[in-house]
Chain length 165, copies 2
Amino acid sequence: MDMREPRWLDDQEKAAWLAFLSATNLVSRRLEQQLKDDAGLSHTQYEVLVQLADAPGGALRMTELADRLVTSKSGLTYQITQLERAGLVFRRSCPSDVRGVFAEITDQGWEVLRFAAPGHVEAVREALIDVLTPEQLTHIAEGLGQVAGRLRCGRTSGGPSSGTQ
Amino acid sequence: MDMREPRWLDDQEKAAWLAFLSATNLVSRRLEQQLKDDAGLSHTQYEVLVQLADAPGGALRMTELADRLVTSKSGLTYQITQLERAGLVFRRSCPSDVRGVFAEITDQGWEVLRFAAPGHVEAVREALIDVLTPEQLTHIAEGLGQVAGRLRCGRTSGGPSSGTQ
DNA sequence: ACACCGTGTTTCAAATTTGAACAACAGGAG
DNA sequence: CTCCTGTTGTTCAAATTTGAAACACGGTGT
């Protein structure tokens, strides 16, 4: 079931992969810097606040939050501890499941988020959104949406019906 | 020169940004895992080998290499030290500039790279390339190419001619 | 030759990330 | 009720990353 000769990337594919890698790292780096400078938050911390602010009741279970952020559970534990220390978030135990822990955003968390959001959105525009035409944006949203969708469902090996060819 | 009311992202833009963030993290995570499991390399280390293998003479200056990998110089110093310890790379001083340091790939580095490449390419296909149609790939290559291009030229503030629409 | 500023790398301490091991509990079968 | 298996979060040590400071040198003006 292995190919002696792997299917290398052609020029088109290589270009796409290279662009993806570069854009990914550069955008990440830029946003990290912007958030740190303007609001004293790491991108991870900012995303925690965004997810909590979006969630009903401003709270989410640790595991659910970790999944949304695409980060490890231990990594999230660390960041929540930091944010708790900063007073932007607090932990609350789950009524229906003693093991469960809710992370909930505080008023001060909302404040910080409201303060940081405009600059962050502007940075996202400058780095990505406003660089592209609406058509490009549509195509990227669709394509990368598929990519993310597939990877979320733990598909490591190729699907059954589309094995070879 | 600041807007009281920031231009928030509309649904289309938000979807694109969300997809970009998710795809970015998920792909990164998947490749990191694949390389570590199959070849005992981190993605950063793998990219170092790729860049050196691509370079004439199999060698690059530290700064040049750091720029291509989009990483910090100190971070590169660390990784090159690790790779040197593993015998995949070695340091060589630059003839024309005593300060300069070349990182050069070794025969063993080539071997490891040849061993790791097929599996990595296959993983890249599974995660990104083969998920998309050729048209989508073209659009993404073009769009993200522009994004990367702009960010490489240290443009923090908006350009002069395209300020306010 | 000398003082100076900019460049190329490394060093260093601190922050972050990760996976494995652990502790506590939920849910169901016997 | 009791045993098993799977979850949920945290802890822990080790690896990695980062920016600032330290170093060593190149190039220029005087």
